[in-house]
Symmetry: C2
Subunit: 291 residues, 2 copies
Amino acid sequence: MNLKEANHLEFVSNFDTFLFDCDGVIWQGNDLIPGVKQVLLELRKLNKQILFVSNNSTKSRKSYLKKFESLGIQASVDEVFGSAYCAAYYMKHQLAFPPNKQVYVVGMHGICDELESQGIKYCGSSDDNENIKDMAHIGDIKHESDVGAVLFGFDVDLNYKKLAKAFTYLQDRDCLFLATNSDLTYPAAGTIFPGTGALLAALSAPLERQPIVLGKPHQTMLDCIVDSKHLNRERTCMVGDRLDTDIAFGKLGKLKTLLVMTGVTNQETLNKTDTIPDYVIDSLGSLKLIN
Amino acid sequence: MNLKEANHLEFVSNFDTFLFDCDGVIWQGNDLIPGVKQVLLELRKLNKQILFVSNNSTKSRKSYLKKFESLGIQASVDEVFGSAYCAAYYMKHQLAFPPNKQVYVVGMHGICDELESQGIKYCGSSDDNENIKDMAHIGDIKHESDVGAVLFGFDVDLNYKKLAKAFTYLQDRDCLFLATNSDLTYPAAGTIFPGTGALLAALSAPLERQPIVLGKPHQTMLDCIVDSKHLNRERTCMVGDRLDTDIAFGKLGKLKTLLVMTGVTNQETLNKTDTIPDYVIDSLGSLKLIN
């Protein structure tokens, strides 16, 4: 249902917590969406809890803060819940990942930073940016004996060596398989490119194994957020621009959902979807919370 | 059925042409399988046509000849039908790929050599081995305007730039999508690693498009072989070590099939399969053709 202006305060009064996707909701690329800064300030005045929930695993919570700062938006580390942090949180708090094991990372420094923040040992990532020279050298790849998990996230420096190492670790079914998210595409430069879920397919296809995914719409992420922030699901609203990630995430998790039209979803897509949001607004910046 | 020695000459008399997979049939890695050299010579004496049919797209027909030579096996360029050559043959003879278009190659020099042999223009491959520095530079990738197809093969130097370029070309549904093979794993160094089909999944997953595959067990390859060599399917036998590629290839194509046990298939797998070969022998080298 479309949020009419008269109802905005009433709508907000139903919730204690708002979960916000970022790209397409708060900003578009490097540009803040008009009005959003003010709406966030007003939600704070109304004592609403604010959490930023993103699938982008290339950024740690601290990197996100820098982005918020550069756009002039107030935020704290505790309000950011990215998929890199979620993966590290899950490994520490849900899995109690053994301290004598390490995780092999396919992904970038955002993931490594968050694993460090949770005291989890890791290897891989940029240490394996240099590929093997040719297949004749495939047998020379060194494998660590104490790898207990592979964590896969977006990696612009993905190469065959990283895939081969992760594949070899994961052929042992006791080695855990985790991914920060499964988005098939990555929006950038005004178009789309292959996303984490695409790169991940190069591993899950030959393994015939699917990872535990710590990003939207997978509920392991929401379970981590609810657990970490002690949320009441009935008083929580998920705000996003994507039906298949944000809105599905909220609906599967029994949250209320608000779709904004400032991102990837247009009216035509909305008319055809089975993933129907509870509320729709043209932009988060249009929320009128002052009489 | 197991080939009993007494029947070997009778078995061979049913065929004019033998299609041989290479790895696991003729050689294992760099070692010739005992007796195979003699059997091939005897088949030649019986005036049988011999073709070597391989999914490995990293080698051109000429590279294959070097391998045959190094192992002391007689072979000619016309007897080699690798998936790289098959792709080039298909583009020229079946698609009549327009001379004013070029093909974007994800793959290694074996593919490029074979495209050149058929006079097909190409770009990509090792020219794109240098990846983009980071996602901030993704918009700087230069795309050629005359790319009419993407040809995907095994590429140990696969990187994000190549995937992003291929993805961008293939979002245009008029751009043809071809792959040399779809093997999920690549046997090397006594174990397995992700194969062409694994790497390919990173492209087909986000595109929701499947390529035309020019390797076993896909029948486009067999159609090219039959067309090119004017084979009589009823008088042709496919010899291979893999049920899901070689034997399936022959069975789907109405050829007779001979499984050898010198490669990836063991008796336990054979007992459980639905892909039942017409004949089984412990090794191609065991074929007794002299009384």
